[in-house]
Each structure stands twice: as C-alpha cells, then as structure tokens.
Amino acid sequence: MNKRDHEIVFKHTGYRREDFSVCLGCKICASVCTVNDLTLNVNPQELLMKLFVGEKIEEDHPLVRYCTSCYRCTAACPWQIRIPEVVRAVKESLGMESRFEKAFKRSLDIWGRVYEPFVVAMTALDLLKGGYIKYMPKWMGYAGFHLPHKVKRLKPSNASKGSNPSEEGRS
C-alpha cells in the first residue's frame, strides 16, 4: 500500500491525516477489538499510526481481513474514531474484496438492490468449496423465491459517477 493509497483512504473515510494525531495510544481499541477474540493479536491503533505517518500497510493484515465492523473500538475510543470505516477503506484500496462482496455490489449496480439468488449464483463455487452445504438444512427457513425488482435510481451508479469527495473532513 503506497502513499497514493493512503490519500485514497483519507478521501474515502472523510478523515484528515491530522484527525489521527489526536490518538493517545491508549490501545483501548485493541482491548475491545472483536478480532482479538479470534486470538489474532491486532492493534487498531497501530493501523491509524501507519496512516498518520504514511507507513506501508501489509496486504495480509489480520485486522483488514477479519474486521467485523462491530464498532466496539469506536464506542471505546476517547475520540470515537470510526476505525471499521478506515479498515474498510484500506481493504478496498488494497483490492482485498472477496467475490461475495463484489457480487453484492454488482447486484446493486444492476437492480439497485441486493438480489440474494444472484449473489448465491455468483459465489456458488466458493460456497461448495467452502463447505457451506452442510448448513443447508438449517437455512431452509431463509429460502423463498422472488423475482428481482429493478428500482429507479436518482443518481447514476458508481461506474459512471465522477468523484466528488467531501473537502471538509469530519466533525
């Protein structure tokens, strides 16, 4: 992840570099982080510092791979920094999105909504290989058939949209 990627993370999250200078290094985010329940020893504060000083973030960073967007870090942080949104932006800039996440966005581009059968079809191979079939009996209650409904969008989808990031940062 290079310097330009760092700028993209700031642009995408609405945070400015100096917003991370207030981090006190208290590591309370690490003490409540759900990823640490997976015994992966992550420290979200270290990720903020890397962005602040412009250091490289490695592609296989466990926080980037496993963050569950639980916002426990945000709730505990003295500055309420929305670390999951920073992690999400880092994940995208590193191109780490899975086929599942891509199918989700593709569905939104096509219909304006997530059509679950489409997402399942696009990720069928992963579901088969990943051993999800054994859960099918438990998932019967989720099954049901409906056709996709294409909605009218007020704004063009991302593919055709020009970038117009907020210059103001966050309050």
Partner: protein, 227 residues
C-alpha cells in the same frame, strides 16, 4: 395510531422475509400504518469503503421519502445505521421497530399467552448499539418486553458482543468462533432483531432456538402457534 414510512431493506425481501412479515403484522396490531418508500434502493450495507458513496446510496432513499413522511421505520440494523449516517441533520426520524415499543404500549396489547418458566437471551449485536450516536434509545427494550410477559432473561454481558455475521461468507471459521463464544456464555432461546445475527446464530446454535423478537411478540398475542 401513527403513520410511518417503511424501508424494509434488501434482506427483508429475501432471507429475512420473516422479520418483514413480523414487523408488518406487529405494527398492524399496535395500530400503526406502514407505507413503503417507493422504489427504495439498497442502503449499501457494510460493503463500501468510500463513505461519500455509501452516504449517497443510502441518502437516495431519504430523497425518495422527502415530502412523503418524516418518520421512517427501518428494521434491519445495518440499514438503520446507514440511513441515520445519511441524515446527519436529523431531518428524518429514523426508527427501529424496537423504538415503537414501550412497556406502556405493551401492557395495552391483547395478551393471549405468557412466557412464564421460559428463559430467553435477548441479543442485540452491534449496529443497534453502536456507533453510539446511532444507537436505539432504550438499550434494554428486549429485556423489558420479555419481562413484561413473564419470561426470564439471561446473558446481559453478551448482548452487544459481535457474532461475526458479516464474515459468514468470507471467513466462516471466524463467525463460528465468535457466535459459539456468545452461545456458550448464555442460555435459553436466542432473541434477535438483526438478519445477520439471526443467520450466524441459527447456523452455529446447537439445540437452541433462534427467533426474532417479532416472533415472540406475535406468539404472546396469540398469532404464532409456537415459539
């Protein structure tokens, strides 16, 4: 009797249809009318790294609701968070169906059954509780509901821990570990309000029922035959 706008969100048209039907039925019972926002689109869930893009996608729904309603009922916690994030000036009142409940209006409903002798684990998960500025107002509402009808409550310390639901199709071992941790430290029927939590808990619970709070309320009102 109140009139609300309604934003079901994508999963409530599919895998969480049960929650959609429950919310509609419950609101009818409480005397509220729900009018779906015409042509609502996906809120973007947790899938967008670009906050501007996410707010724009979610905010489109508020544009579609403008002039139609000021109060919008949003059952899915991810949609609830995103719609609130898209409305920093609070020009709309975005409400979880949980915020339509109070011990006051529950005591007025026609009760056909009680929950005496049954243990429940009210499980909120993350996005109804955090970030704090978006949290539901009464953070004990599910406990209140269960207690009003005579049920026993368990698992206070685990109620806002993360089940890892959004990792289920990415790293299922992580979801399994996180959900199992929560299930292992609690007992009784798991009562949820989030489609992610429902799926994670349902997938990894062994010998435990997982229900939506709407299922429980409709049971008490005599609509659902069993829990």
């Amino acid at each position: 009797m109140m009139e609300y706008g309604y934003y079901p969100g994508c999963s409530l048209t599919g895998s969480a249809k049960r929650l959609d039907q429950g919310v509609r039925q419950l609101c009818k019972k409480l005397g509220h009318s729900l009018t779906e926002i015409p042509d609502w689109n996906c809120c973007g869930a947790l899938e967008y790294g670009d906050r501007n893009e996410l707010v724009s996608i979610s905010g489109e729904n508020l544009e579609k609701a403008r002039g139609m309603c000021k109060e919008i009922v949003v059952p899915c916690p991810a949609c609830y968070k995103n719609l609130k994030d898209a409305d920093p000036d609070r020009s709309f009142n975005i409400l979880s169906p949980l915020e339509l409940l109070s011990t006051g209006n529950l005591s007025q409903i026609e009760q056909k059954r009680d929950l005496k002798g049954q243990v429940f684990f009210p499980y909120y998960g993350c996005l109804l509780m955090r970030p704090e500025e978006n949290s539901i107002k009464n953070r004990n509402i599910m406990e209140d509901v269960i207690s009003v009808f005579g049920g026993d409550v368990d698992g206070e310390k685990m109620k806002d821990r993360c089940c890892g639901g959004n990792q289920l199709f990415l790293n299922k071992w992580a979801t399994e570990k996180l959900s199992t941790l929560i299930l292992g430290k609690t007992k009784g029927t798991v009562v949820v309000f989030c489609p992610f939590c429902h799926m994670a808990m349902q997938t990894f619970a062994v010998g435990r029922k997982v229900i939506y709070l709407t299922d429980l309320l409709l049971y008490v009102m005599g609509e659902n035959k069993s829990l």
